[in-house]
């Protein structure tokens, strides 16, 4: 008996050739516990090539973000569904099919000084300053994998004229703001990057494949630090 199939509709678009994007339908044999990435790989390997990014296959590199039925997902985590529409992440220009140009995100990130700023050199290794509590706190930030799903879903980022840089980039600022080794005034940077505009709607938390609580761990913590210094 032939295996039952599911149909997936995949965004096809080459801006250098096509006038407009279209969704093309493919039949994919159903296997136990298939992910969106499994279906894309099946189509790519067995039917025709599709342009899409992936690397690790276990939610660790954040390369395979796509839209599945209108929601941003990591292709390697999201379960595949019959009739599913798979499209590119919005807010970024499409290079081809599902591959988008994320250069604008990286350029913005590099402007935020996303590295530890430290003139004061540690006297010994390991540093006594890094305690168990510090290590536990630090852990809350390292889960972010730059998959950009939260950037895509954030309603504040879509408002015209917003100064807010979005949840993923705020995470970068928050991570250094809570690190006692860092000497830069991260709170002021966060404020100038629109920290107060976030409405705490929590949409970012809902799509985070790592289950991070961005609203509380990043935004709220930064706001507390700002309030302590009477900056907001």
């Amino acid at each position: 008996m032939p295996k039952p199939n599911m149909t997936v509709h995949v965004h096809r678009f080459d801006p250098t050739k096509d006038n407009e994007p279209r969704y093309k339908s493919y039949k994919v044999p159903i296997e136990e516990s298939m992910t969106v990435l499994d279906t894309l790989m099946y189509v790519n390997d067995n039917i025709e090539p599709i342009a899409f990014r992936y690397e690790c296959r276990f939610w660790d590199c954040g390369a395979c973000g796509v839209m599945a039925n209108g929601r941003p997902v990591l292709a390697c985590k999201q379960a595949a569904q019959d009739g599913m529409k798979i499209g590119p992440l919005p807010i970024f220009p499409v290079i081809k099919d599902l591959v988008v140009d994320i250069g604008s995100y990286y350029r913005k990130r590099s402007q935020l000084r996303p590295f530890i700023e430290r003139v004061r050199k540690p006297k010994e290794f390991p540093e006594p300053e890094v305690t168990y509590e510090v290590a536990q706190k630090y852990r809350q930030y390292v889960d972010c994998i730059d998959c950009l799903l939260c950037q895509v879903v954030c309603p504040v980022l879509k408002k015209p004229g917003t100064k807010f840089i979005g949840p993923a980039l705020i995470t970068y600022i928050a991570r250094f703001a809570v690190d006692s080794r860092d000497e830069l005034d991260r709170v002021t940077i966060a404020l100038s990057e629109g920290l107060s505009e976030c409405t705490l709607c929590g949409e970012c938390n809902k799509v985070c494949p790592k289950g991070r609580n961005i609203a509380e761990v990043d935004i709220m913590r930064l706001r507390e630090l700002a309030k302590e210094r009477e900056l907001m």
Partner: protein, 577 residues
Amino acid sequence: MSHIGTQIGDLVVLEDRRVFETDVLVIGGGAGARAAIAANEAGAKVALVDKGVFGKAGITQLSFGIVCAYLEPPDNADVLFSDMIRAGEFLNNQKLVEVFAEEIAAGKVLELEGKYGFVFDRMENGGLVRKKMGGHSYARDLVVTWNDAPCIWRGVIGDLTKRGIEVLSEIAITDLLTCHGLCVGALGIDIVSGDFIVFRAKSTVLATGGLGQVYKFTDNSRGSTGDGFAMAYRAGAELRDMEYVQTMLGFAWPRALRGIGIGEPALVGGKLFNVKEERFGEKVDPINIDNTPKDVHGRAVLREIREGRGTKHGGVYFDLTRMGTEKQPHYYYLYPLAANVGLDLSKDYAETVPVEHYFMGGVYVNENHESSVPGLFAVAEVASGLHGAERLAGCSVADVTVFGYRAGKKAAEKALRSGNPKIDWEQVAKYQTKVVDLLKRKTSGKGVRPVAIKNMIRELMWEHAHLLRHEKGLKTALEGLRRIREQYLPRMKMSSDSPRWNYDWIEALETANMTMVAEMILRSALARTETRGAHAREDYPKKDNDNWLKNIVTKCVNGKMKLTTRPVVVTKLKPGE
């Protein structure tokens, strides 16, 4: 140009070609990132190219668990040195191991915590969490619970950003360029546009990682297709120890988890069973049933499968139900990963096979990380010599960190002493034509897509060049590979002749590289008629010190693959001591 991160500098046009000029060219974003930092620090102009998106692609960003970093008396460089030589069964280049052990003892990994701003795990009393891993005499491996290397690497990437180092993502290097026997840079394709770029460099650092994709199951990421080994080989470099593949237990099923690493039974608190629910480890070692080295239990698993006692999906059962209770926090991530695809590891058995994990062989380098081709440096997984016949846990991230930096420094020192390299434009034209022809070729009859050929290679290598090797199987695989080379590669056909983001095209280059490295592995494995470290021959089950205290050297001579042997490099520790 997909220059994610920083803006690409101006390209100059020479001989009608787009040329990027730099002192040091670094290929690869793992150890390469450390190399780029070192070269920049030394005052050289440096550019880093990555086949994927820098920071996402490659294995360094994905590796988990442990890094060999903390030596406290009575532990010292000498003890680490002898641990590594004993694990490597004397095939290591002792000159490299000496330098490595001294750098680790000097705290070169440890000091990065404060410098790059990441955090190693701490105990409640504030002390560092340290693990004593198999083969290590002391607890010297530090842990960063889940996301460890990514977390170290985020610091490294931060430092690259701080220094404004030029990073070019999604550039596939097709070949290294040579002129009068010197390496003078590389030819690359910008994957997004499909345009060629000539990189002219005084020194080139190869940091392209391993070759996991040559095997059917691997925990390596998409890009680990052995490009670096093949490019160096074509450039005339010597490669050594190409028979040395390290495996670890990984998932056999479901599809979404296939190949993803689990770990050693003893380490994760798991037990292995065959389909009849027998603990087959008893046959191998009745006392330490589940506490045998990677290659020993790996081979036992493959034997069960071969003799018909495997599971429906081609593995054996791995009972991880007790894992959560065994104080193994850095393995907790496996639970949600499995649960996401309907596998409850607290109740259900996983199905496991030994998957390709690490490659010990590679480009021969001296203690300055320079290959046998002047101007070409190689470091970490693509280089050979540090780990010999078997790698100790935690020594790979340490290698990437410490040697990555050192290779970049040596490459920069050499570049700053060198004049502008001369490009052999005929060679560039020849290489470019070869690559363009792949795209434009018209095959008579039905073409074969690169991915189909890749799968053939993966099956062949899985069947015959895995942990169970014997002459007959290796010869069968070589014959299969010859057929692939003669009958399938010439018929390889892309689905589209557009150069723009055409991954079929990139995969065609990878397929050619995979064919080449597969042959190196098979021929070296066939030549080594003994069992030593990770290389085990069923027809030669004993170690043969009389004949095999040698490294097998693979080199391209007049267009032919030639194998020779060299006595092992010994400095402090003599075999038998």
